[in-house]
């Protein structure tokens, strides 16, 4: 069993765990920096080590299109290609086909679409998604799912969910036949709970997937434009039907307060492009909420981005980083990306410590109160 549940909070559903993967051990709750194209944007693997990143994410859709999974396989797999020795999780490509590709047409077989790079017509199926992820050699591969939009009629959500479940069986069959590897171990596979905003569908999806005995379970179809309370409800509707002894992963989330709320609802794993994406637009996370570094208020501000900034970034003033950002200097994107990932990784590290100490709920409430400037 790759997952060990070490401790459960008494005042919330927060859990402390350990995930033993072929390329190393991951402490949960964990945040996974996103390396869409085989690189966490602007950062070097040495930076990720300095940040204490334990696992990163790679995007199957992007790597399949460019440079191609066969090339990466020939170059020794994604770990060797990207010179990253620690665990990697790859998504299934389903979400990017949904959000980036054009002329998407779903059938029982899979999804036909035109890719966003050159408009070529392509088809992604459950088997091909697993084959690509096997070639990449990630520690955790996600099952190929269909992500319904928000809002979504119950009938569509139910049919989509049924398709996701049938695709999950086909993924499972492919894995059983091909026994994909990751380094010296076996590749692990996570199912994805769908069902949109419908509690009975979320329960059905979670139950069906749990019966198929995957290594972990994600809650998908969140962060697709729904209000925050629907996002929390999707988690609440799925978690009770997922096995205690398997890790739970909320895909593509969220703000720092949302991460803590999700941990309190029993989620163990997170990924989100937000820290690096907003960095490239000049936003830095601080304990008092996000700041926009372009703001004139920071022109002569000698302070570091945040009182908890990593020394790699804290040696620079807001004044200097603002200057670099306005001057279009790439170093500013590096510093802001590094800082924001540090903020997220510190957040989950502090959360783990608080769970261990039995103080998670008060930590969460006090963090959120300051961050959202609540009275």
């Amino acid at each position: 069993m790759p997952f060990t549940l070490l401790q459960t909070d008494t005042e919330s559903k927060a859990r402390l765990g350990r995930l033993d993967l072929p390329h190393g051990t991951v402490e949960t709750p964990i945040f996974m920096p996103v390396g869409t194209q085989g690189s966490v944007k602007t950062l070097h693997p040495d930076d990720l080590d300095a940040l204490g990143a334990q696992i990163i994410l790679g995007n199957t859709y992007h790597l399949w299109l460019r440079p191609g999974h066969e090339l990466i396989k020939d170059m020794g797999g994604l770990h060797q290609f990207a010179s990253w020795e620690k665990p990697i999780l790859t998504d299934s490509g389903g979400f990017q086909v949904w959000s980036l590709a054009k002329l998407r047409k779903i059938s029982e077989e899979g999804v036909r679409f035109q890719n966003h790079l050159d408009g070529s017509k392509m088809m992604l199926t459950p088997e091909l998604s697993m084959e690509i992820q096997a070639a990449l050699g990630s520690d955790i591969a996600m099952l190929f799912d269909e992500c319904p939009p928000y809002p979504c009629e119950e009938k569509y959500a139910a049919e989509s969910l049924a398709l996701t479940t049938r695709w999950a069986r086909r993924c499972k069959d492919w894995v059983t036949q091909n026994e994909p590897r990751s380094g010296n171990g076996r590749q692990h596979h996570f199912g994805i709970v769908q069902g949109s905003i419908y509690a009975d569908l979320r329960a059905q999806s979670a139950t069906e997937l749990a019966a198929m005995d995957f290594d972990g379970y994600a809650v998908g179809g969140v962060s697709v434009g729904e209000p925050e309370e629907e996002m929390f409800r999707a988690i609440d509707n799925a978690v009770p039907f997922l096995p205690e002894n398997k890790p739970r992963y909320a895909m593509g989330l969220g703000t720092p307060p949302q991460i803590l709320e999700m941990i309190g609802r029993g989620v163990d794993m997170f990924d989100c492009v937000m820290p690096t994406r907003v960095a490239r637009h000049g936003t830095a996370f601080t304990l008092d909420g996000p700041i926009q570094i372009k703001n004139l208020a920071f022109a002569r501000d000698p302070r570091p981005l945040c009182e908890t900034a990593h020394p790699h970034v804290a040696r620079f003033s807001r004044s200097y980083i603002r200057h670099l950002f306005r001057a279009g200097e790439i170093l500013s994107l590096r510093l802001l990306s590094f800082h924001n990932l540090h903020f997220y990784l510190r957040l989950v590290s502090d959360a783990r410590q608080a769970i261990a100490n039995g103080t998670f709920v008060s930590f969460k409430n006090s963090f959120i109160k300051r961050y959202l400037k609540q009275p």
Copy 2:
């Protein structure tokens, strides 16, 4: 005396020296990475330390325009602002006014122009250039000069040179009155030899500046579009008239073979944007000449960029860096910039070693032969 001449080559004019500056010691011959806007493009000061950079360059024109020298002075000077504790050389702004600004009008007083950022009308004078550089607090400030174009009539070159010499006196007067500091020491000042392609004018310029007793001397007005042999001739025409016991600096040069040719002609200091600029266009330096990483030939090339690549870069294959570059990933710009600067810094370090060993000319010839693929 800040400069100590340690050794002179017997087969060439190459020199081994040491330059003691307020923020540290520089071994010569040296290459200075260019930090135009207070940042060596794409790199962190930790990277520059890893590269063994001993001194970097800052651009007076750019920093004056944005964020402004008064702001940098208020933030503790350029060293503290950019979090770089080792020596910094600043140029005078003259070259950027010549190459970037518009509607340039030269008078005895100085140069009127419209800046390239917002078109504001501004004026740069010898006194203002020295004042800005004093505010930046660089270890070495360059005198404000007039850079004639190439080609250039002898009459224009002679008049321009006379102006440069009169401006040099005004710079010297300003320095004598204001005694600018750099950290705990005094700021050092280098004159700039002009005179275009005319040997008698180069001699005159060098002689006049040498009589004013500056801390070092640059050869300016090179790398302005002239053929390589004119560039070498400009150096050859100036060097015999410069004092032995002062460092010599060839501004804005050059290719790796040119650097070695210049060292063999008695030049001690170099700066050039080329290594970082071509990096951002996908070019990497190798012992066999430059390569363009986008080339299809590198798609599955498992080798590092160059057999002498630094471990920070050598851990990645050409295949991976090519992928990153094609995908627009900033990490590729970092790796190529880091690599090219490492190539240049290693080149001057190898040159120093060869001078010390008495093998400089054979080192130079064998490097150039391989680099230029000579039979």
